[in-house]
């Protein structure tokens, strides 16, 4: 097992920086997460954070959009700015000798964007185009509806925005989102690769030292949209989405939740894959995974199947979910652990995946878990614990969304 060393510092403005030096790598990657995602979009203004992330790439400070893009390309920086649900995330990676050159450019992009009418119009057009494209991809649309039918507002806000709200957005909305939410106090920057802590600390202080802190926004949660929900669509397959509550990443019993879902859907020997696809040939794609936000989490299940087999697929899938606590064997749990350990170790071969883990752990746990710690937690996990969790957290009513030519009988997802 490899040893890892994490070093952290907090700038006076509150920005937390977490560094993992990986001296055997040639590359370095950074992930900056700022709590400014779509959950902070105001009612009737969904898509604000998506628009802001579009605008970030359209010039900054004294640089035009093309100059900013060229400056990034000159150092071979692979980058993305995305407005997610909870966070606005910047990811960037290049060879380690050039990563420090990227830091001041990224800071400029985030702190001095050109939020102007001139940039607003094409950004809105692009968000509009992306929403149109989603209309043609039923699986993607399903995700948006499933979130709405399983999370309360504002955690259900669509990060892509909606057609209805897009027309109501103005430059002033984007500016106000920027002013109130783009603050360093609760942001985290993770950096992993062939770098050293002193250099990182110096570069971050120089680039982000002037970033002004502000008052964090407090959210209040509202309603969950009712389901089952069916969206009629002229598609070859019926796309089925199921959701239910589970515990979030920071919860004491998260690993038990993870193991439960892993029994269901981790690997090709998992129960859903075996029962729905291998034994019955009902579908090609089937999955279940945990979607975690700060403070709450859901399991999202998906299957895509031809319309005449959709009802059977749904029924078998839900039956497997409902009997997950039955007959869990030592070997079955062992397989889940083996897959998790091997994934964890292989993560050490990617600076990108390490930098995002550093940022995510710091945000959700307020510290970074070491490989050894996770390994110990996995080793300690017993069949009894997993079974107890599955019983205690067994879903009663589940959220159900379908997209396809016809609605399905939803009796199986109703609570008792």
């Amino acid at each position: 097992m490899t040893t890892q060393k994490f070093e952290t510092c907090t700038l006076p403005n509150g920005l937390q920086v977490v560094v993992q030096a990986m001296p055997s790598m040639q590359s370095a990657a950074l992930t900056l997460m700022i709590p400014a995602g779509s959950i902070y979009d105001l009612p009737g203004k969904s898509g604000t954070s998506a628009l802001l992330s579009e605008i970030f790439t359209r010039g900054a400070g004294d640089l035009s959009a093309r100059e900013l893009s060229s400056a990034f390309d000159n150092i071979g920086l692979q980058r993305s700015v995305s407005g997610g649900v909870g966070y606005l995330t910047v990811s960037a990676a290049t060879t380690a000798d050039r990563i420090m050159d990227a830091v001041p450019l990224i800071a400029k992009m985030l702190l001095e964007p050109h939020i102007t009418a001139e940039n607003f119009a094409p950004s809105r057009d692009l968000v509009y185009q992306a929403l149109n494209a989603m209309e043609d991809e039923p699986k993607q649309r399903l995700g948006q509806y499933l979130r709405r039918c399983s999370y309360p507002t504002p955690f259900s806000n669509p990060s892509e925005g909606t057609m209805e709200d897009l027309v109501n957005l103005s430059v002033a909305d984007v500016q106000s989102h920027f002013d109130s939410l783009m603050i360093p106090n609760e942001a985290v920057l993770g950096i992993a690769g062939n770098v050293n802590f002193a250099d990182v600390q110096q570069a971050m202080t120089a680039a982000f030292g002037e970033w002004k802190s502000g008052t964090p926004t407090v959210l209040t949660t509202g309603e969950v949209t009712k389901s089952p929900l069916h969206i009629e669509h002229d598609s070859a397959q019926t796309h089925i989405g199921i959701a239910w509550d589970t515990v979030p990443y920071a919860h004491d019993r998260y690993f038990e939740a993870w193991a439960t879902i892993s029994l269901l859907s981790g690997g090709m020997s998992s129960r859903l894959f075996t029962e729905v696809r291998e034994k019955r040939g009902l579908c090609y794609a089937i999955s279940a995974s945990i979607n975690t936000q700060k403070g709450m989490a859901r399991v999202f299940g998906y299957a895509g199947t031809t319309n005449e087999r959709a009802q059977e697929t749904l029924d078998v899938m839900v039956a497997e979910i409902r009997r997950i606590h039955e007959g869990i064997t030592e070997d079955e749990l062992q397989r889940c652990k083996a897959r998790a350990k091997s994934t964890l170790i292989m993560q050490q071969e990617s600076t990108m995946s390490r930098s995002s883990s550093l940022a995510r752990d710091t945000l959700f746990l307020e510290r970074v878990r070491t490989l050894q710690e996770i390994r110990d937690m996995l080793d300690a996990l017993t069949v009894k614990q997993v079974r107890d969790f599955a019983v205690e957290y067994a879903p009663q009513a589940m959220a159900l969304v379908t997209i396809g030519p016809a609605a399905l009988d939803a009796a199986c997802v109703a609570g008792t």
Partner: protein, 416 residues
Amino acid sequence: MQFHKHTLSNGLQVIAELNPAVYSVAAGFFVRTGSRDETEDVSGVSHFLEHMAFKGNDKYSADDVNRIFDEIGANYNASTGEEITMYYAAVLPEYLDPAMELLSILMQPTLLQEDFDMEKNVILEEIGMYDDQPSFTAYDTIMATHFAKHPLGQSILGTKESITALTSDQMRHYHSQQYTAGNMTLAVTGNTDFESLIAIIEKYCGHIPSGVVDRPLPEVQPVNSTHLLTRESSVQQHIMQMGIAPKGTDPRRFAAELLSVIVGDDSGSRLFWELVDPGHVEGADLGYNEYDGAGTWMTYLSCMPDEVEVNLARMQKVFDEVNRNGVTAEELEQAKNKVASRIVLRGERPMGRLTSLGGNWVYRGEYNTVADDLQIVRSLTLQDITDMLQVFPIVMYTTVGVGPRTTLETNPAPAC
């Protein structure tokens, strides 16, 4: 980093790039077979067979194969293309032996009738799934029209009809013809030593029947054509176009690759600035694809249906300008930086190296280190781009549209 090669007595070629500094080892069979090697009556058999490979043999059942792969925490899967069917597993070094045993079983599955009948349903579901993805439908159709009467035009998945009609005897026959040791390359990357690797491979792969397979490489002769698949319920129009580019063995392929980055990368390229940045389209890109004895330029455009002509004209203007005046030194330098950092980042993971190691060997019998690849990219000049463009200008012969449009105005390319 050490390169080794070895040929087993049955003709199986083994190539390995070993690196003690990484945590995992990846192995992959590259079988030189795909949709182009099928006859019309067995369309889709390569891909169906790839699924059947996981159904096991006399010693291990389908459940065993999935179970053992999961027990050793393998990251494993397979893919089928026009020319190569690839089976891979990445594991921690201590599990290389069981991983190799399973991979060798995939090469010689029993192909039971019962499994064949069940898996046929899964294949039909997979066809349905891709049918709901307009970009995939456009790709399948443009390959069929651009490569009309050429083996590369044959569909990877096949059709509902061809899969329904396929028999297990036809599959067994295809398997016995194509899955011979001389038609395979086993590539290994990562942390192991060559001596024990070869011992493991001799143990598990020595029984694969010998034999080489001939593959005809006819010239491609596309004719100007426009083909529309009308889907009234689509919101956007998806357009693909194809032209002729350097073959997979042509040294000019590197210049073609860099040119496609300059002209058609998803950010910072000429198409990006002309079409995406102003918000005219959801997506517009140009890619270069290399094949055995062929090569293509391929464009993808998705936008609102009534703006297709004006956007195609914008793309055409970009291509005309490049064909006439080439690119600038600054653009070339940026593209080199982009490509170089991609090579480095991908090369850090054994799984990332596996594809390029195996692909290079199967197509060209060459081994290139990451440093060699970087050197090739660095040494390309503006003259190389100009020379390549003289022979392979960005000219599109074939157009395919998927979406609501029933007619489309395109400018025919000069006869080729």
